[in-house]
């Protein structure tokens, strides 16, 4: 049992459990707060309530069966999880993904980034008391989920990014729908900013709260908007470009104040940058073209071919029963998820099932900063700190 030592006697402190069931912990997170009145003496997170053994389960499945498990870790960024896993498997295989499939991946992952930041903003705002912002953000997120449903049939756990490319051709009418979203969104982001950015209460609750120096953040292995709000220019899309990101023109928003307010500004600016990337991706995606690499034995053949050609049928059968075997070796790939550096480490032993799959989840590692962030502040600031780190418990616990 996670416990904390308390002071007794003249200066007494009290230990309160925040969570695991609590509206502001954004999931099943338990924080042991040692309090001296309203002041937090220590805040110790206790995690593991959502541990489902995903990494162990991956060892019992073939490489393509693992994709559906990856959706369910960071459940606000399923396409990003799919992407990092598929990139790692493709690296192990030495498989090149066609450009058109890479552009589709970029577009969908950036849409996912916006939807994740919308959930973050809505929940962070309602934690601070701005209740309407939650509904406005979820209204826009509905449009994104409708786009995903059109593409894959699923709103959230799409499993749309597959090994070698994406699952299906973009559906009829997708351009009009994405364009409608892109035209509507900038004004909506302005709406959120009108409500929050210059708001005295918002600034009062967030400015100066949860400050950590850049050196502390790097030492604690924090990545993502938290690091960029401290002035450190580290974004995987620019530092180690993947999936054709080097062809896109976008900025990486940064601040230097490294408090909750700075992180808010960084994430809102990131939403605007993602819109730019989506527009460019939409222009780059041609109406016709491949969605998967040509790799018989690894990438399943088209269904029409499978029904008429014997060879295709045999490949289909082998892939979906036995699976394919990458050569023995290890690979580590990292992408920029809305929360930070999301990495996937795969070790292959030459069999159709992975020897080890490990996900470097940014929420798990960023959460380590909570005790330092919350110490010495008020309980209400702890809520702001948990919100500003932007955790998803599915990813923290796996």
């Amino acid at each position: 049992m996670t416990t904390v030592e308390t002071a007794v006697g003249a200066t007494k402190t009290m230990v309160l459990n925040m969570g695991p069931q609590h509206p502001s912990t954004h999931g099943v997170l338990r924080v042991l707060l040692e309090l001296d009145g309203e002041n937090v003496v220590s805040a110790v997170p206790d995690i593991g309530y959502l541990h489902t053994g995903i990494e162990k389960s991956c060892e019992d499945k073939t490489y393509s069966q693992v994709i559906t498990l990856t959706d369910r870790m960071d459940y606000l960024n399923p396409l990003g999880n799919n992407l990092v896993y598929c990139l790692a498997v493709e690296k192990l295989l030495g498989l090149e993904v066609p450009k058109r499939a890479q552009y589709i991946r970029v577009m969908l992952v950036e849409l996912q980034r916006i939807s994740s930041h919308l959930v973050w903003l809505g929940t962070h705002a309602i934690d601070m008391g701005a209740m309407s912002v939650l509904l406005y953000c979820f209204r826009e997120r509905e449009e994104i989920l409708k786009i995903f449903e059109r593409f894959s049939g699923q709103r959230m756990m799409t499993s749309f990014i597959r090994i070698g490319g994406v699952a299906l051709q973009p559906p009829a009418g997708w351009r009009a729908q994405v364009k409608r979203f892109l035209d509507m969104m900038p004004a909506r982001i302005d709406e959120y900013e009108n409500l929050l950015t210059e708001n005295r209460i918002w600034q009062g609750r967030l400015k100066g709260v949860g400050y950590l120096s850049p050196e502390t953040l790097v030492a604690l292995s924090t990545t993502g908007p938290g690091l960029r709000a401290a002035g450190i220019a580290y974004d995987n899309r620019k530092a180690f470009p993947y999936s054709s990101y080097e062809e896109f023109d976008f900025n990486v928003p940064m601040r230097t104040e490294s408090d909750c307010y700075a992180r808010y500004l960084v994430r809102v600016a990131e939403m605007r940058e993602s819109l730019k990337i989506i527009r460019q991706a939409m222009d780059k995606i041609t109406d016709d073209g491949p969605i998967k690499a040509e790799a018989p034995g690894i990438v399943p053949p088209q269904r029409e071919k499978m029904k008429t050609e014997m060879e295709a049928l045999i490949y289909h059968f082998k892939i979906f029963t036995e699976g394919f075997s990458p050569p023995p070796g290890e690979a580590f790939v990292a992408v920029e998820s809305p929360r930070g550096e999301l990495g996937c480490f795969i070790a292959s032993d030459g069999s159709p099932k992975p020897l080890r799959v490990h996900f470097r989840s940014p929420s798990f590692i960023n959460l380590q900063a909570l005790p330092k962030m919350a110490k010495g502040q008020l309980i209400a600031d702890t809520v702001a700190c948990i919100g500003t780190i932007d955790i998803v418990l599915g990813e923290v616990d796996r």
């Binding site: 990494e55 389960s57 690296k91 030495g94 890479q102 450190i232 993947y242 020897l355």
Partner: protein, 159 residues
């Protein structure tokens, strides 16, 4: 793969060799990634060198992972993913511990962010880290027995 290849990797290997030739037991280059195999006793010192040497400057510890190579000995292979933000470079340090003595030096004195990463490896693989400030289970309940991510632990669990 459009990920940038590790072009400066040889420079890193040479600098580590210059610091201590025994630290670089083996270099593995695969799919554009460089892995430096370091003997177990030298890993913490090598990690410190990687971080503090200005020419290496691997200030961010991205990940600590364990691979159970059962039944091959030494059984547990530890992989440390390092990132140099300033030099835009990644490197992996690898070492192994045996099943009979699954103890490793903690790198928390070098990167405090290794705290939870090593706790996770302790929790799921049963490897102890000497010098870790607070080594206890992190994901599994405290009363849990066993190390589930070991290959000889069944995926359905034990009853």
């Amino acid at each position: 793969m459009t990920q940038l290849a590790n072009t400066n990797a040889n420079a890193v290997v040479e600098r580590l060799r210059a610091w201590n030739p025994q630290a670089v037991a083996e270099v593995v280059e695969y799919r554009g990634e460089t892995t430096i195999v370091v003997p177990r006793e030298l890993l913490r010192a090598a990690a410190q060198q990687c971080k503090e040497n200005r020419a290496l400057d691997f200030n961010l510890l991205s990940d600590v992972t364990c691979v159970d190579r059962f039944p091959v000995e030494p059984r547990f292979e530890l992989n440390y993913q390092l990132v140099s933000i300033t030099r835009r470079e990644r490197i992996r340090l690898r070492t192994s511990v045996s099943a009979q003595h699954p103890v490793m030096d903690s790198v928390v004195p070098v990167w405090p962010g290794a705290d939870w990463l090593e706790r996770e490896v302790f929790d799921l693989f049963g490897i102890r880290f000497d010098g870790h400030p607070d080594l206890r289970r992190i994901l599994l309940p405290d009363g849990f027995e066993g190390a589930p991510l070991r290959r000889d632990f069944p995926v359905e669990g034990k009853r």
